[in-house]
Symmetry: C2
Subunit: 290 residues, 2 copies
Amino acid sequence: MKRIGFVGLGAMGSRMALNLVKRGFEVVGYDLRPEAAAALAAAGGRAAATSAEAARDADALLLMVINAVQAEAALFDDGALDALPAEATVVLTATCPPGAVRAIAERVEATGRRFVDSPVSGGTAGAEAATLTIMAAAPKPVFEDVRPVLAALGDKIFHVGEAAGQGATVKTVNQLLCGVHIAVLAESFALAEKAGIDLDLLLEIMSGSSASSWMLKDRGPRMLQAQPEVSSAVDIFVKDLGLVLEAGADLKTALPLAAGARQMFLAASGSGHGLADDSQVIRSYRALNG
Amino acid sequence: MKRIGFVGLGAMGSRMALNLVKRGFEVVGYDLRPEAAAALAAAGGRAAATSAEAARDADALLLMVINAVQAEAALFDDGALDALPAEATVVLTATCPPGAVRAIAERVEATGRRFVDSPVSGGTAGAEAATLTIMAAAPKPVFEDVRPVLAALGDKIFHVGEAAGQGATVKTVNQLLCGVHIAVLAESFALAEKAGIDLDLLLEIMSGSSASSWMLKDRGPRMLQAQPEVSSAVDIFVKDLGLVLEAGADLKTALPLAAGARQMFLAASGSGHGLADDSQVIRSYRALNG
């Protein structure tokens, strides 16, 4: 694989496309904002005026768009799939619901083209440093063919399954734990503050105990601030835990803790805190408990 | 403080009493099993035949019994409190509900004696190595007076508040997070296995991601075994999350995630798995989702 079409040059995509350029791939990029494609061209790639133009003659078409609706629009409505060579591979790196990923994969594969369900995690820092975690699902030979492309983007490349939707599921499961870990930390602080416990001291104790989690260390300090800087908003977890529950419904799997946690993020959003830092889900507990 | 009465020489208490002996305290120990007190005597302490005998002439009386009922029995029914000098301090290191701790403290302090609510964490390994985390609540001067005793038992000594019950609350909050972290890990595995994800690979991915937790790394591997060795039983979390909800009720604090998690441990217990390793709460999810 040599030539890569890249659709979606936002905070994540622009950095990922640049890493492909640095590794010697020919990258043709498209974004709804023409200045994003121009920036890629200035950095050694090429700008396309449409998704279809990015796809033309590409060995692989990467999609780092906002959601499944944008991926479908690019592929099916804007003609990128038709423009793509018959032997090429579509690599969906955006975070989408597993069911939507399966549906997109079916439409792609019905044309004879190949599909890799390949969400990433690690944020813009990981995208910049090419240290993303990549959770790819595809038939093994298809995965091996795109591995050099993925290796330009991340350093933890996992083949999580053969079937489209499994990559999205792994990402979804990851978000399930993240969301519940944040909400339950808020729940524990709510109990402790009712008892008059010093929450800073509590956070220090629990950071070193069996109660610890990645989220406790990351979100805990911001949860104790009244107006913390926004790292990721409450509404993101309203959406992500929504995707979790959608995946559970598709697979007929009851997820009582994820469902409960989502209600707390929803309540925070409904109370006007949707754009606040997600640690502020603690406001739901304070509203609940007085 | 020089002379310590010690009631409850079980897996934790025997190791803690021994560490006091090693640090030069005169330790007089009592346990329901006379051989436990005899072992302490053989190691340089002294054996008492009753709780009251352990308390006589002591500067501090430590209670490392099973629960609040045993602590009350030793202090009030078996005469240890009456036997204790008027200036002495009762140090309750057992894990008890905050409300019960407050009630015990009131009865102790009504006699003019002092009280420290001081649960520990770190298990038998921490008890053996004198590396326990100690979460003590007492008026500051009382805490400072017993600090040398606590320092013989642990290396992370926290003064968490002035009021009896606050130490127990910190321990309770810790258990809230632990219990929910185990249950939500089971929930996430249940979703992933329905999607056909390789759970060993998923555990590897999430151990290094934002989804990670102390419990994920500790319980995750055992959760993927059909009959894992029992580190701590399902029924322990039925009890501990019960204490969490009792504390929430006392403080009028709704704890929806802890309540949900307890139902899953209860269901595992009700299905006959109460004595299985607590990671086997995943069996509840499998029963729920087929």
